[in-house]
Symmetry: C2
Subunit: 399 residues, 2 copies
């Protein structure tokens, strides 16, 4: 195990009292051992809490664990950490994962879902805890590969980024792509979000629109003097209930769209005819549509309604690109011998950011996306071990 750089203790608060006070007991310095396998490393990563916006301790530990490896160039940017080999290989791939988790859950007995809890053994057991599947298992695979592959057959850029679980503006991958473009020049990208070790191609786009219906207030005892905006919104809900979403094949994968109300609000007081009702609608669209097509479609669905329609946010889809040679080779390596085929990624992921750079990418990682964000989140450690092995077989020099 390479020696670790000491981690700096907590900086004193600027408003600390000037007179001498007893030194605060420093937090035990978390150290990460990158040589004992991805399963144990997953547990160590889970045990360093890193709720979105609070990733510093984990970024410190990862930076400290990577710095000693002479084959890696390490860059710290905010609480993101990047590392890369520069061996002059013909191709470069990006392995990316986010450090943050959703908030720690506390059950009715007061028990928190951190630190992690091992059931069974490190090879075949289950690890429970916040961030196990989403996505400290994937980050553990990245770290094991970064430490263990001094001479990968392709140059590799490892990206560990912040604030994926919160508003898109805070996601540091967007910032890093803008401010460190040279770190993102690559031929292929793997985002290690949980996919049960099945390659998921591309991702669907997402667009939210707000429909606002307006009317006129009146006292509800004289309702004929008003114009009920909530009643008007019923027409939009009916169109949504009757909507038939597309199932469409794009580059060999089947995508499934969806158009849904995700929020509705209206009403002034219990005795007032409401003058406004707004419906927030989320459209998930297949990668054969761009954002302009998606907006056009949503406007068609609601055409003729007495409503204002505003797009509140939107993110493009990513085409799967599995027909490209590098992607096909990757699928061959990581899914060889499995009784499963690549599938479409339905959720939006940061793969779309790579697609926006012209870097084709896939989602592939250990863990179950269906357990993400749940209080009883867990990960199958067998998946973690196998993911690391397969990625190594793809990138590693024949040993």
């Amino acid at each position: 195990m390479p020696g670790l750089e000491p981690i700096t203790g907590p900086t004193p608060e600027p408003n600390a009292a000037p007179e001498p006070t007893p030194e605060p007991t420093p937090n035990p310095e978390p150290t990460l051992d990158l040589t004992r396998g991805a399963a144990r490393l997953t547990a160590a990563l889970v045990d360093i809490e890193s709720v979105s916006g609070d990733e510093k301790a984990l970024a410190d530990a990862i930076e400290a664990a990577l710095r000693p490896y002479p084959h890696l160039e390490v860059l710290r940017d905010g609480d993101s950490v990047l590392a890369r080999t520069s061996l002059g290989r013909a191709e470069r791939v990006i392995l990316a994962g986010h450090l943050d988790t959703v908030p720690i859950a506390v059950d009715s007995t007061g028990r928190r879902n951190v630190p992690s809890l091992l059931e069974g053994d490190w090879e075949t057991g289950t690890l429970r805890g916040c961030g196990t599947s989403d996505m400290k298992a994937g980050v553990a695979v990245q770290l094991v590969l970064a430490a263990g592959l001094a001479e990968p057959n392709r140059d590799v850029t490892y990206v560990f980024y912040e604030c994926e679980e919160v508003e898109a503006e805070r996601n540091s991958l967007g910032r890093l792509i803008r401010t460190r473009p040279d770190w993102f020049a690559a031929d292929f990208a793997v985002l290690l979000e949980p996919s049960n070790n099945i390659v998921e191609g591309g991702c669907q786009g997402t667009m939210r629109v707000r429909l606002t219906f307006r009317g006129a207030r009146a006292h509800s005892a004289r309702s004929w003097l008003g114009d009920n905006a909530i009643h008007k919104a019923g027409a939009a809900l009916r169109r949504l209930a009757e909507y038939q979403p597309r199932r469409v094949e794009v580059e060999g994968l089947e995508f499934r769209e969806g158009l849904n109300a995700v929020g509705i609000t209206g009403g002034v007081a219990g005795n007032v005819i409401p003058d406004e009702c707004s419906v927030l609608v989320n459209f998930r669209f297949a990668p054969d549509r761009d954002e302009a097509d998606a907006e056009r479609h949503v406007r068609e669905v609601f055409a003729g309604l007495d409503a204002e329609l505003v797009v509140t946010d939107s993110a493009p889809a990513a085409r799967p690109g599995l027909h490209l040679p590098l992607a096909a080779e990757f699928v061959g390596a990581v899914m060889a011998g499995l009784d499963a085929r690549p599938t479409a990624k339905f959720g939006w992921t940061d793969v779309a950011r790579f697609a926006g750079l012209g870097v084709p990418g896939v989602n592939y990682g250990p863990g179950d996306g269906g357990l993400a964000h749940k209080p009883d989140e867990s990960v199958d450690l067998g998946q973690v071990v196998r993911c690391a092995e397969r990625m190594r077989s793809w990138l590693g020099p024949a040993s």
Copy 2:
């Protein structure tokens, strides 16, 4: 003007420091002159702020103004004040009004709508300010009659009560009826809420029901795994939009019902298929229905929908009762020579509380209900003067 009892200064707080402290400067004691007419008295009442829950200063002033009159028995209960004659007349009538107002409004330049502002003269002008129409003008008429009618032709009970503008449980009329039943034994009641000096018979009932639609959460990228509760609510909105409210004649007056969504809420997050949507519906019903009929009707309207229906609150209607001899005589007295006829009261008012006691009642008072609760609330002082004159002609001994 009868001498006024001194008003007690503020009681020291129980947790006041025990050591001697300088006496707080007492607030200037508001005094009410009940002999200079209802118009000037309206202004004096408006100038004593009495937002719901904060009626003490006004109740103090009214109590102090009434106590000196030997023909009145005065009762203070909380911040409500009651007064009555006991001349052994064959009939007793109640004149009731609330002391509280909605909150003081402040316009964009920082100007408050208290104190009152006179435009024109005291006989024909307009008085602006919070509570002018709703309902310090009506309270002024009550006070002028209470002071001026030492020997009314019927015994009269004057009720000045608190917290009419807030939740029904805080309305002190309900408490007083329960705890002081002997003060409410009467043959007829007039509630002096603003009605533009037109007798409004009875009142419509009001019932609120909450419809809750349930579904199943899922990530909106895989919406087919969920069940969208907001979409289900569309069926209820459609029934509301298509609903044809009744117009029905009851005891000679036309009532107009209404069934309206007054609130809707649903949604978990922008990427989640919502598992719950609730619609709050307000039914305003004519006095030919009781509350059980009203609930039965609402349940019929929504029959067959996949929703839970809960009645959240309800208040009965009051039949107009204008065919009863005492009411007919009242209408004859106060509307003689007017080119107008009594109308139905659409809003729910405390008249229904008197109806619940078996005391028929009407709404009749100066001021415009359409201006109530508005920042630019005002009252036509001519109406105030005429209301006092007509009520006096009804109750007064021939002078």
